[in-house]
């Protein structure tokens, strides 16, 4: 069994660009499940549904949940407690990584780490899974944590120190962005726009709605 765990950014991105229509066919073709955690749901449905400007976006995501296109992990018997415990574990690790002048810098929050927690639980249950995350910090944390220190120290101009810590647990996570989801949907014929520029248009749209992808990367994807 396969699963994709969505962080807030990917669903916000797809909502802003009107790409939710690809989720159902993508799920059917790949026979995988799409999940969000309770923490992510709070950020993208519960809280914004009380803000007029974002109410429609929040309701669109709620509709996907109501239709079971996106599901909550409890359908697999995974409890909130299990996710919360692992979330706290990963938060502690990530937020005890970088120091500025001797003070810990909290770099991540519950929503992002709950995605890692769920991925970890799914892997333990032999679910092949990917994490859909658009923002760069969570992804770099697992793929090249040294970059986090670089980004912070380049901007803050103060003594920044990366604490030696065992991050091997972070290395096992696999991340994709909205850009790769749209790339896959395009290759699988799900975008439904018959124009030679459709792929690049999708990639630019994902970039301008929050995916941390560079123009160089877009050029690479366009040529694939």
């Amino acid at each position: 069994m396969k699963a994709v765990i969505f962080d807030s950014g990917v669903l916000i991105n797809m909502s802003l660009n009107g790409f939710f229509y690809i989720l159902e066919p993508l799920r059917k073709i790949s026979e995988c499940k799409f999940f969000i955690t309770k923490q992510v749901k709070y950020e993208i449905v519960d809280r914004p549904s009380k803000i007029p400007r974002f109410e429609l976006g929040a309701l669109r995501i709620k509709d996907l949940i109501d239709k079971k296109i996106i599901e909550m992990p409890d359908i697999l018997g995974i409890t909130d407690k299990e996710i919360s415990e692992k979330t706290n574990y990963f938060m502690d690790k990530a937020n005890r990584l970088v120091q500025v002048n001797g003070r810990w810098i909290e770099i991540v929050s519950e929503g992002e780490m709950s995605c890692l927690a769920l991925s970890s639980i799914l892997s333990e249950r032999s679910f092949e899974n990917l994490i859909g995350v658009d923002e760069r910090t969570t992804r770099i944390l697992a793929e090249n944590p040294r970059e986090i220190e670089k980004v912070i120290s380049n901007k803050i101009h103060q003594t920044t120190k990366m604490v030696k810590s065992d991050l091997s647990e972070f290395y096992k996570f696999k991340f994709i962005r909205t850009s790769e989801i749209l790339y896959s949907a395009f290759k699988l014929g799900l975008i439904g726009i018959k124009d030679s520029r459709a792929l690049e248009a999708c990639l630019y749209a994902s970039k301008f709605s929050g995916a941390s992808i560079s123009f160089d990367e877009i050029n690479i994807l366009k040529r694939l």
């Binding site: 396969k2 807030s8 950014g9 916000i12 802003l16 993508l26 073709i29 790949s30 026979e31 995988c32 950020e43 809280r47 400007r53 974002f54 500025v100 002048n101 003070r103 810098i105 909290e106 770099i107 991540v108 929050s109 992002e112 990917l130 658009d134 923002e135 760069r136 910090t137 969570t138 992804r139 770099i140 793929e143 090249n144 980004v151 901007k155 803050i156 101009h157 103060q158 290395y171 696999k174 991340f175 994709i176 962005r177 790769e180 989801i181 790339y183 896959s184 949907a185 699988l188 301008f208 709605s209 929050g210 992808i213 560079s214 123009f215 160089d216 990367e217 690479i220 994807l221 694939l224």
Partner: protein
């Protein structure tokens, strides 16, 4: 002590300079002071520094756009704000975190409640200032959700703003190259 001594001195200097800049209606200095506060906000991630950065930036925008000309009793409003800044300085000197955060929050509320018919505009300026400061913190390597929480805004607002900024993310030298990630995704979705 909630923030270190050198940072306390720095914040006191920022507040003193802000008082002068307000009297001189110097928006450039206020913007600069707001940016300086941001580093402290990032380091301590405390609500006081965040509020200070947002309030100073908002005041700079009101002055820059000559909004103060439309606010009845602007001079007495600035007097009130400067008095609250004095109390903030005192609380910093006393090491009283609660009072420090409370006075800064009162500056924000005073600004909103004394804006007369410009109240919705001031409210909007404060909201946009929070988003602007959040975007700057996000550039410092803090995650999107963490940043949004620090500034009390939603990820929708922050995504909307940062995306419009057309930030060209550097290619991170990660274990997974662009091509491999795309193929990994496609293979994942393709195979049953």
């Amino acid at each position: 002590m909630f923030i270190e001594k050198d940072e306390v001195e720095h914040q006191i200097n920022v507040l003193k300079s802000a008082k002068e800049a307000l009297l001189e209606k110097n928006s450039l200095v206020l913007t600069e002071l707001s940016d300086q506060t941001l580093h402290c906000a990032l380091k301590y991630q405390n609500s006081g520094s965040m509020t200070m950065a947002v309030v100073l930036y908002s005041l700079s925008k009101i002055i820059e756009r000559k909004g103060y000309q439309k606010i009845k009793g602007w001079d007495s409003l600035i007097k009130k704000i400067n008095s609250l800044f004095d109390l903030t300085i005192k609380s910093l000197e006393d090491g009283n975190q609660e009072a420090y955060e409370d006075y800064l929050m009162r500056v924000r509320k005073t600004l909103e409640s004394n804006a007369g018919n410009l109240k919705p505009i001031i409210h909007d300026i404060l909201r946009k200032a929070s988003i602007n400061k959040a975007a700057k913190i996000y550039e410092h390597g803090i995650s999107l959700e963490r940043t949004a929480k620090m500034l009390g805004i939603t990820q929708w607002e922050l995504t909307d703003y940062t995306a419009q900024k057309n930030y060209n993310y550097p290619v991170i030298d990660s274990k997974l190259k662009t091509k491999e990630r795309a193929f990994m995704a496609l293979e994942f979705f393709r195979k049953k």
